[in-house]
Every structure is written in C-alpha cells, then in structure tokens.
Amino acid sequence: MFEGNWKFIAAAIIACNFGSQAFAQTQGCISLKSVPQVEQEVVDANGKKTVQLVTATKVVPGVEVTWTVTADNVCKQPSDKVTINNPVPAHMTFVANSATNNPAADIAYSLDGQTYGTADQLTVQDNGTTRKARADEYKFIRWTFKAPLAPGAQAVAHFRALLN
C-alpha cells in the first residue's frame, strides 16, 4: 500500500532531527552541545567498583544529574570572549560548588537572568533585609572563558543539579 510513498517517507525521516540529545547545534563558528548524565556504579571483571557517568534518560527524584555543555570551534579563526550560559532546568536545584572546577573560566550566577555575580557577590532581598543568595536559589550559571578558543578546540562547562 505504501510502495509509491515509501521514498518520500524515508526522506522525511532522515531530515527530521530525532533524539536531539545526540546532535549539536552549529551556527557560525561554535558547535554547542548539551548532554545530561548520571553517576552509575560499574563493576569490572575483577569485581572492582567504579563510578562512571552515563547518559541519563529517565531519572527518579532525588538523583543528581550532571549537565555537560561543550563548545567546539569549527572555524579557522579563534573565537574570543566565549561565554556559555545555562539556566538551571525546571524542577531541579543547583548543587553548590558543582560548576567551579574549571580553571579556564570565571563562573557567575544569576537569580533573574539579568544581574550576575559570583557566589560571594550575589544577594537577594529577604523580608526587607539583604543577604547572600544560596546556591539552591541560583537560576542561571555563566562561564566566561578567559582565553580565546582556538580553531578545532573545545571549551567544556558542567554542573550538577538535583531532581526535586
């Protein structure tokens, strides 16, 4: 029944962007990809247990997800002032200090997407008094890479968030 239309359908499927986990978005010179992972205990042939990060698809509340963002320079010129911005996903809580083990970038946070500051700088109004914002209140994370990104090089940013 589908003989005549088969080629058309096959072409349509190939053109669709299924499983957006696997495909990066490229515009201009940067190819940007985001991947969620969770820790899984892996036992090797000798019975030794190690913890590895595996791609996450279905996650139960209470589990921490590690989000990794990679930026690849696909042009022949260096890219300057590379700045990655990641909102803390809905229904998730940012895990304190989980974004900062990256000496190549300065980290800043924001509660509203407008004002950014370091963990020491970011404040919030609470019942008329100003206090330091807590990590679980952060809504956006920004990595500003200090050095230009060379052609063919990759900048990496990652953080952990707890599924509520």
């Binding site: 010179c29 300057d80 990655i84 599924l163």
Partner: protein, 331 residues
C-alpha cells in the same frame, strides 16, 4: 508511632491519650514530567559577536513506587465474643505517580494472646470518607477495586474481625494490613522499565513499595459509667441559678461487666463562671480534704480548676461510687 496499652478502664471524664501518626509526604516532581535544558554561548570573531543555542537536552522523570501504612486506631477495646470489630488504617502513596495498591489483612501474628477471626468481608474502603465503617463503604476485593492513589493521596481502610469468646480480660489480638504497589515491589532501585506513569520507568523507592501496619484488639470486659445530676439552691431560699446561687453536683460512678477496672480516677472540671466551694468534696458521704494529701480526693487548679477523686479498683460488685461537690455561680 506509640501503641498504648491500658489494662483497665479510664475514667469517663479524664482526657484520653493522643496517638502519634507519622505524616507521610510524596517525593518529587510528578512521574512522566519532561525536563528540558538548553544552553547558549556567545562569542566574538574579530568585531562580530554571535550567539548560538545548543540542542535541547531532556530527561524524563521516572516514577518512584513508595507506600506508607499507618494505624489510626492502634488499640481497640473489645468484649469477648464481639463481632464486627474494626481497626482503621491509612494507606498513603508516598511516590510521585498514580499507583494502584494491593491490600492484604493478616490476623495470625506472633506475640499476642489470641487470633482475631477475619470477618467476611474483612477489608473495607472508606468510600463515603466518614472515618467509620458504614453501609456506604465498599468491601475490598483484590484485583477488582484496588485503590488507585495519586502521589500524596491516601485511602482509609477498615479491617474487620470477630473476637473469639474464649479470651480473658487484658488479652491482646493483633490484626495487620499490608499494602503493595501493583506495578511491583522489591529492593529499592529495582526498575520496571516502561511501567511508570506516561510510559516512563517505575523504580522501587526506599519503602520497597510495600508497607504494613499492625493494630490490636484489647479484651476489656468491664466498662465504667458516670452519671451526673445537680440541684441549685439560691441565697433567697429558692432554686434559681442566679449569680451567688450554689450548685450541688452529684456523680454516681459504677462499673458494669466482667473483670475489674484498676486505677480508676474521676476528674471533673469546675464549670466556667462558677467557683468551687472549698471543703465540699465528698466520696460516698465521707468528706475529703481539698489539698493533695493521704486521702483520695483533691481540688486542683492546674491544668484547670477541677476536682479529682481516686476510686481505685472497681468491679460490678463495687456498686455506685458517689462523688459530690458544690460551686457558687460567680457574680
């Protein structure tokens, strides 16, 4: 959760103990929810600044299977041979997705003195939400009307037993209710792929997706009854309850049934807008001092103004214990 056992009756006017029932909360974002994450990057090449967004990476929230059973009536006093006695339980879905639960009652439990007999039917759902077993409540039939509970929702369940006749005062018989998630139970972390809400995975939570509560029936052959009457004498020789008039209270306390009630204490609050008349407290016509001393009666001011008389052990043969005291209506 405390289970309180009393071998003997409490006074009809004393305040009864409070039962601690743990509050159970569902965990987490609803099962089946999709969580998206899109990052963006800005960069400059020469003088041109550009922004790129990433793919939208998603995770789906899996379903946690968890359940808690609490006993709402830990100890129910019963008479020997009584039929259709009821224990009340609450089954709460503490997971994050809707789940039907399989209920089972068990009355053969070690550590008690008799086995309550399962009535037929032995499990009811509180269909009319009245909190007591009524004609409007549906009998539970496993596999037919397993309660389907949303996350955080609970159902009240009644377990019904008959009490054997060959039991003695103070004997305890236990009867439990267990609930298990229909999707599956087991070691926490066990995954039932694709069997969660919206086709996500279902994962057994920390409760193992099964829980049990155990209540007990306490054989109590004796019951205490107190009957109160009053007469009013006003300062003009009449019987009008005017400010300044005196009210004489008479309370007859008696025990009916088999066995004995120990540690019976009569307590009665002084009514609002009246003041206790010192020296008026008597038991069986014998005067009792107001202070706390060697005799069995006292007038107390904490936690409220009240009279208290210790009546000791009462049996049906003890007959009426008559307590009297008087108050004056405040001006």
């Amino acid at each position: 959760m405390k289970s309180i056992r009393k071998f003997g009756a409490q006074s009809a006017f004393a305040v009864v103990c409070a039962f601690g029932a743990s509050q159970a909360f569902a965990v987490g974002v609803p099962a089946g929810t999709t969580i998206d994450n899109t990052a963006s990057v800005s960069y400059s090449v020469g003088t041109v600044t550009s922004t790129v967004t990433s793919n939208t990476a998603s995770v789906t929230v899996a379903e946690i299977l968890d359940v808690v059973v609490t006993v709402q009536t830990p100890t129910v006093p019963v008479a020997p041979g009584a039929a259709q006695q009821v224990l009340r339980y609450r089954v709460t879905n503490t997971g994050n997705g809707p789940e039907p639960f399989h209920l089972v009652m068990n009355d053969v439990i070690a550590g008690d003195q008799f086995d309550p007999v399962a009535a037929s039917p032995s499990i009811y759902l509180d269909t009319d939400n009245s909190g007591t077993l009524t004609a409007g409540d549906a009998a539970y039939v496993a596999g037919t009307n397993d309660p389907l509970l949303n996350a955080d929702a609970f159902v009240t369940v009644f377990v019904v037993n008959d009490i054997p006749t060959a039991v003695a005062d103070g004997n305890i018989g236990r009867s439990s209710l267990s609930a298990a998630a229909r999707t599956g139970t087991g070691t926490p972390g066990t995954v039932f792929a694709g069997q969660g809400a919206s086709g996500t995975d279902a994962v057994v939570g920390t409760t193992g997706a099964t829980a049990i509560g155990t209540g007990e029936y306490l054989v109590q052959g004796i019951s205490i009854v107190a009957t109160k009457s009053q007469t009013v004498v006003d300062q003009f020789g009449g019987a009008k309850p005017v400010p300044g008039a005196r009210i004489n209270y008479t309370i007859a306390v008696s025990a009916t049934g088999t066995g004995s009630a120990t540690g019976v204490v009569f307590v009665d609050n002084i009514p609002a807008n009246t003041t206790y008349l010192p020296g008026t407290l008597t038991l069986n016509s014998v005067s009792l001092t107001d202070g706390a001393d060697a005799d069995v009666g006292a007038f107390e001011t904490t936690p409220a103004a009240r009279v208290r008389v210790a009546l000791g052990t009462l049996t049906q043969a003890s007959g009426n214990q008559t307590v009297q005291f008087a108050v004056r209506i405040n001006n």
